[in-house]
């Protein structure tokens, strides 16, 4: 099934009936890219995807639709651009800027996907662009008139780079021959890293062209049979740390370091986020790993300026939590919980959690499916296997204080304990709404009353509940501060679970504690 050969043949003959039929019956597979401030759009898109019985993609290789949720302008755009480059035809790309247009945008993408002749043309253009890049003789800019002069020079530049580090590698190989001990190729890796850096710096320039829904000749990373030099962009969807790492982007092999078993082994720099399924929007976790064990971690936060962001999970300060507010807070917890369950590898439970979240967000949707949700809640809460795999994971002892730029502040009580305890608090939030009769929540909601500071006396003298966004900003601030130490020494599965159990809301962090978001 060589689509490229087909594409060449079909340029004159048109698209075969079989391909048309396949496209028609195929299920759309959207990949969501959420910018900070895009929570509302994300929820809307997730609802539409669920209602249509679609499944979200985990990686660009399985996606055919790129859905960007939220405002443009934060660092996530570059990541989205690279993800777009990695998707094979047929593909479509849409941006959802408000919750109302989610369905319409996905329809739009579907129409673009079904337009096979256009997809084929785009694929052919992209292939041509690759060829242009790979052949010395290619004329710059022939694949697309809109190319900038700057970009047209890229292929040559790129080749030069690759030529450079091929030589470098040869040198490396020779030196290995003479000295078996210095065989750890870190200089060499840095050679690739340089290449990566160049590509990534170019990425925004490329972005000007990629954004209009049809495939277009920027697939620089495809079809390169470049041996050894390939640590670059295909991983782009998950590690783009332009803030902290010296060598942004690709898998860069660094020096060696002691691992937890006392062996000095090679280390690899990767980053998780910002484009990652079930991952907090705007979070980038730069990791130094050996195998799948994290040695060091650093957190970067991609937040746009405050005025661009509106906090979705927010309400006003109040004396007591009325049912409506509890319900909204339960929806927020359900969102975090379903994401956590997805990361924990329980897709069915996560799917029900998603449904529950959407139900809770509709004020009058109370009655429907109540028994199924309570049954689901009980099953999650009582799952021995879940507790077994979370036990002792990501512990946060109580009483710690974290040093901020100006003052130190305590870790919010809600984050104390291990991952299982934090997940349990979300479950309690939901139980307070779903099963109010079993826990006396309206007088003393067990979890929602917990706050960052020590309780100021009895129930009567309790200060008003701060806005939800404010609370979540404090959790996020603590989470961002604690994460690097918490994930060091853990393997990747545990890292994902720890992050999911904290689920920092960077949207509220950007608005309520902007100084913490831009440290």
């Amino acid at each position: 099934m060589d689509m490229r050969a087909d594409a060449a043949a079909d340029r004159t003959t048109g698209v075969s009936g079989i391909a048309r039929w396949l496209a028609h019956v195929s299920a759309q597979r959207p990949l969501l890219v959420t910018a900070v401030g895009g929570t509302e759009c994300r929820l809307a898109v997730e609802r539409v995807v669920r209602e249509r019985g679609l499944r979200r993609a985990l990686s660009p290789s399985e996606a055919d639709t790129l859905v960007e949720c939220g405002p443009a302008g934060s660092g996530v755009d570059e990541a989205a651009e690279r993800v777009w480059d990695q998707m094979g035809e047929p593909r479509a790309r849409v941006r959802v800027r408000s919750a109302e247009e989610a369905g319409a945008r996905i329809d739009e993408a579907r129409i673009a996907l079904l337009d096979l002749p256009a997809q084929r043309r785009a694929a052919a253009r992209r292939t041509d662009a690759d060829r242009v890049e790979d052949q010395e003789s290619a004329e710059p800019g022939t694949d697309d008139g809109a190319q900038t002069a700057d970009e047209a020079e890229d292929p040559g530049q790129d080749r030069q780079d690759r030529h450079d580090h091929r030589e470098h590698r040869d040198r490396q190989a020779r030196s290995r021959h003479h000295d078996g001990q210095s065989h750890h190729a870190h200089e060499d890796r840095q050679g690739h890293g340089r290449d990566d850096a160049e590509e990534h710096e170019r990425a925004p320039g490329r972005g000007e062209h990629g954004g209009h829904g049809n495939a277009h000749g920027h697939g620089q990373d495809h079809d390169r049979e470049e041996e050894g030099g390939g640590q670059e962009d295909h991983e782009g969807h998950d590690h783009h740390d332009h803030h902290g790492m010296e060598l942004p982007g690709g898998l860069v092999m660094a020096d060696r370091g002691d691992d937890r078993d006392g062996l000095r082994l090679d280390r690899l720099h990767i980053a998780i986020g910002p484009v990652q399924a079930d991952w907090p929007a705007g979070l980038v976790l730069g990791l130094t790993v050996q195998g799948d064990v994290v040695q060091e971690a650093e957190v970067a936060v991609q937040t746009p300026s405050v005025e661009d962001v509106s906090v979705f999970w927010d309400d006003i300060a109040r004396e007591t939590l009325d049912p409506g507010a509890l319900r909204f807070r339960a929806a927020a917890s359900a969102d975090s919980l379903q994401r956590f369950l997805a990361v924990a590898g329980w897709p069915d439970a996560a799917a029900t959690g998603l449904l529950l979240r959407d139900t809770l967000l509709v004020p009058e949707g109370q009655a429907t499916g109540r028994t199924r949700f309570t049954r689901w809640l009980r099953r999650v809460r009582r799952s021995k296997l879940l507790r077994w795999s979370l036990r002792g994971l990501g512990p946060i002892p109580g009483g710690d204080r974290l040093a901020g730029p100006t003052e130190s502040w305590p870790v919010p009580a809600r984050l104390h304990g291990d991952a299982a305890a934090r997940v349990g608090r979300w479950i309690d939030d939901i139980a307070a709404v779903l099963m109010p009769d079993t826990s006396d929540t309206f007088l003393a909601p067990p979890i929602s009353r917990e706050r960052s500071g020590p309780p100021a006396g009895g129930l009567s003298s309790a200060p008003p509940f701060p806005p939800l966004g404010r609370e979540r900003a404090e959790y996020a601030r603590a989470a961002v501060a604690l994460l690097p130490d918490m994930v060091a020494g853990q393997e990747l599965a545990a890292v994902r679970l720890v992050v999911a159990s904290l689920d920092p809301d960077l949207e509220s962090l950007a608005v309520y504690l902007p100084e913490a978001a831009h440290d």
Partner: protein
Amino acid sequence: MAEWTVFVVCAVAAVAAGAAVFRVDSMARATFALLASFVFTAVPVLLLDLAYLGVLIVLMMTMEMVVMAVFMIMFMMNPAGLMPMTMVHNTKGALAISIAVFCVLAAGALLVPWPRESAPPPADPTLQLGEAIMGDDMLVMMVAGLVLFATMVSGVVLATGRGRYDRYGDDLRGRPDDPIRGGVGR
């Protein structure tokens, strides 16, 4: 005739894959070339009526090679990609010795008047093997078991960096101090 064809194809492929082990420039390719060589030699063994041993070669060698791949990646940097590398010494001498050894062995194989057995092989060679290792006093099986057990113990002792005193403390009591706890809850 069909058997002969299968043998020739597999024999040539086995030797070629074996040679490829030392020709390819990626450790993963070397490992899996070796695995291919084993699989191709298992087929001639199957042709000799040794169904059990032939399949066992495939089974054991696949596991071994995959474990080897893990170690190889661990020591040989480069978690992905094909980093060209050569780490050889004295290739010419090695080649000369190998060719000489091959000539001697080949001459021996062709020139020695091998005794021939006209009796047919047993109906079930697997049963024969089983009785040989498990029958009578089980000597073979016991020796093999002891060897493997000793290997396991000494391999772990050699490879591990932390003994039980590191894990449990000087009095060997309480919970082990492991970086990652296992699933049984110790």
